[in-house]
């Protein structure tokens, strides 16, 4: 984990949550920019997991190794699933679906930051 990168994920996810809520309130399905933004969030999340995995392979041992690995894997599948689910039926609720996934990414990243202490 790199702290600055983790906070970037938190910030990007926070904006994704707000964006999803805004499109829901304005009764619109997520537009192309919003979907691209979600893809960008996913890309940064994947980079974060890859870097963390590299550090673990390189010898770093977080106190809760199994939990940390579970989070690093779980966090990257949320946005793609939400993306799919939000696009099957496109309406105001699609934005909320993306927001739910972004909230989970945000919460999991904060948890990962806490978990990332040597055991």
């Amino acid at each position: 984990m790199i702290d600055a990168l983790a906070y970037a994920v938190v910030g990007l996810a926070g904006l994704a949550i707000i964006w999803g809520i805004v499109t829901a309130i304005t009764n619109k399905p997520p537009g192309k920019a919003q979907l691209l933004y979600a893809a960008g969030l996913e890309a940064v999340t994947v980079i974060q997991s890859v870097i963390a995995a590299a550090k673990i392979i390189g010898g770093f041992r977080p106190a809760e190794l199994a939990t940390t690995i579970g989070y690093l894997i779980g966090i990257v599948i949320l946005i793609p699933l939400a993306w799919f689910w939000a696009n099957v039926e496109r309406n105001r609720f699609s934005g909320i679906v993306l927001a739910v996934a972004a909230l989970a990414v945000l919460a999991m990243t904060l948890r990962l930051l806490m978990l990332w202490t040597p055991g």
């Binding site: 579970g70 939400a82 689910w85 099957v88 039926e89 309406n91 105001r92 609720f93 996934a101």
Partner: protein
């Protein structure tokens, strides 16, 4: 604008094309259930694999929670008449589980040395585990009353 906000009517007259648990707000419910299916299952897997002997009951309940969330996610996402029935059973077990484990973990914290998703009514997850089955039941009730 091809907004599918209205319920898909399909070929009219078909009873299978009424409102379903997987349309509209139901999609959000499925998404939240999906997140909890992932969270609870992953958490239980780690607990069972790495320290089962510490608190077998708590960790088995943790696994049960994960299973229930998976069943609820899939059945709500399918949204057929048969899957709605299964969803109802799963969500009732979920409600019973969060109330039972929540109460036990408050009354007898010793029995639950490590948190599960249902500990203290899901406090570790912003009490969403307590609210979710209530929303689920309300949604099933809503769908049933609009289809019949």
């Amino acid at each position: 604008m091809t907004d599918l906000h209205a319920q898909p009517t399909g070929p009219s007259g078909h009873r299978s094309t009424g409102p379903s648990t997987n349309t509209g707000a139901g999609r959000v419910l499925v998404a939240v259930y999906g997140v909890f299916a992932l969270a609870a299952t992953a958490r239980a897997s780690v607990q069972l694999l790495t320290r089962f002997e510490e608190a077998p009951l708590a960790y088995l309940l943790s696994a049960l929670a994960g299973l229930i969330y998976i069943v609820a996610t899939i059945t709500l996402a399918r949204g057929t008449r048969a899957s709605r029935r299964l969803a109802l059973v799963a969500i009732l077990i979920e409600l019973g589980g969060v109330l039972t484990v929540g109460t036990l973990s408050v009354v007898d914290p010793e029995a639950f040395p490590r948190a599960t998703v249902w500990s203290v009514y899901g406090i570790g997850y912003g009490f969403v585990p307590l609210v979710l089955p209530i929303l689920g039941l309300a949604w099933l009730w809503h769908i049933r009353s609009t289809t019949s």
